[in-house]
Amino acid sequence: MEQTPTSSRRMLVIGIVAVVALIAVIAIVAVLLFGTTTQQETTTPPTSAAAGTSGSIATKEEVKENLSDLDITIKQAAKDQAAVKAAQKDGDNQIKVEL
């Protein structure tokens, strides 16, 4: 059967559109399956802590640093508590204006 130039052109356009659509579908599926997970920057630390840095077993130095930081924070906590208690007793230092 003889094809007219118009119908040939139409077939060509349909073919190109179909190929483009197929590529687009494949790209979307690829992104959904293998796309990168964006890490949201929050101020809350991760809820589960790894055993060490980068998933490896912690070294002696890393443990030592952590414990040293723990000691510093405990001492700071004690200072903060002392400040609260001093403020609670501030009534003893009040200078009342005698009316």
């Binding site: 809350t44 802590a49 790894a50 998933g55 077993i57 952590n66 924070t73 700071q76 200078i95 009316l99």
Partner: protein
């Protein structure tokens, strides 16, 4: 003049008028003397009140400024070591640090529910999980309240300095006395916030240390499996969950080290979880209290404008610690000053317990670290 007086003196009929005149002068003199005396007393009283007021205002301002300064210390997490560090302007720790706080901010409206922090740490396969943290905006809010108080009191110092009226000074004095409990509450709220924040840092470090040691204990157990009979060293590295382990770092000298270490881990996890529960409940209570406080002061206007309330004393029922009932009924608020203050005292007691237990945990973790690591940690 003398001639005139002589003439008068000689005239006996003029003695009575002279006496009358003298009496009138005396009668006029008494009230004048009393008035002058009263003026002097008022002036002294005014001076005394101004001195007392100025001293008290400056004492408060100085104390609250020191408190604000202490709140510049933050708790931050080091991303490199997952360790919580205390930072301040002077002692900023280098490296990638992120502030330890929760993103949710309290609504400030006591009728709407506040975000609930985690109840406690959870123990899982990889160790302790969960984060106990104050909402990020809560500390800023408590600092802002205190800053307003300082501004208000600073304004009052000028007012006291410029007043020359005893009536005006009396009103100012009443206001200063009346404000004391509320000022003190604002300061304590800020200090307790700081205290809780630091404790969340303590918890974070305990969790991190525990999890690292847990990993080491698992590695030690794996290394023990590779020990040949009679040996105390494993040559080369082994792999555990995809991570390479240098067995030479661990003390493999005794077969019961792993058992002892596991037992210590078990005890420590229980105590750390308990501490996390205590701190978490403090965080929840703190959020609720700040919300109540916000509602309470909202009814008074700005904390920085309390000095303009001439009737603050009567609003608080006469000022001082006896006035909370008046404020509560005025605002219809359930959070009276004394009620909120009692709650802060309760939080402080809870944190005392948490702090005490933390000291023991720190010792336990160090002991465990020394047990597992060859040569100890040197702490």
């Amino acid at each position: 003049m003398l001639k005139f007086i002589n003439v008068l003196a000689r005239s006996k009929s003029l003695i009575l008028p002279l006496v009358l005149m003298f009496s009138m002068v005396l009668v006029a003199y008494s009230p004048m003397a009393a008035y002058t005396s009263a003026q002097t007393a008022n002036s002294n009283k005014l001076k005394e009140m101004k001195e007392q007021a100025t001293q008290e205002l400056e004492r408060r301002i100085d104390g609250y400024k020191k408190t604000l300064k202490s709140m510049e210390t933050d708790v931050k997490i080091s991303k490199e070591t997952s360790s919580a560090k205390i930072t301040s302007d002077k002692g900023e720790v280098s490296g990638t640090l992120t502030r330890l706080c929760a993103n949710d901010e309290p609504s400030g409206d006591s009728s709407s529910p506040s975000p609930t922090p985690e109840a406690s740490f959870k123990l899982g396969k990889e160790g302790l999980a969960g984060t106990i943290a104050l909402p990020c905006t809560l500390k800023e809010k408590t600092k802002e309240f205190l800053q307003k108080v300082i501004e208000g009191l600073t304004g009052m110092v000028e007012k006291v300095k410029n007043t020359n009226s005893l009536t005006e000074m009396t009103a100012l004095g009443q206001n200063i006395n009346a404000q004391f409990d509320l000022n003190k509450l604002t300061e304590i709220q800020a200090l307790v916030t700081q205290s809780i924040e630091t404790m969340t840092g303590v918890l974070e470090n305990m969790k991190s240390s525990y999890n690292k040691l847990k990993g080491q204990v698992a590695a030690l157990k794996e290394c023990m499996k590779g020990l040949k009979s009679g040996e105390t060293e494993v040559t080369g590295n082994i792999t555990l969950d995809g991570a390479e382990v240098n067995c030479g770092e661990f003390d493999l000298s005794s077969s019961d080290i792993a058992e002892k270490a596991q037992s210590q881990l078990s005890s420590l996890s229980t105590v750390i979880t308990t501490i996390s529960s205590v701190v978490s409940s403090s965080v929840s209570l703190m959020m609720s209290l700040v919300s109540s406080f916000t509602g309470m002061v909202g009814g008074l206007g700005s904390l920085g404008s309390l000095g303009n309330l001439g009737n603050l004393g009567s609003m608080l029922g006469g000022g001082g610690s006896g006035g909370m009932g008046g404020l509560s009924s005025l605002l219809g608020s359930t959070g009276s000053i004394s009620g909120i203050m009692s709650s802060f005292t309760a939080i402080t007691s809870q944190l005392d317990i948490a702090n005490f237990m933390s000291g023991n945990v720190s010792g336990g973790l160090s002991s465990l670290g020394n047990l597992v690591n060859l040569g100890g940690l040197g702490l």
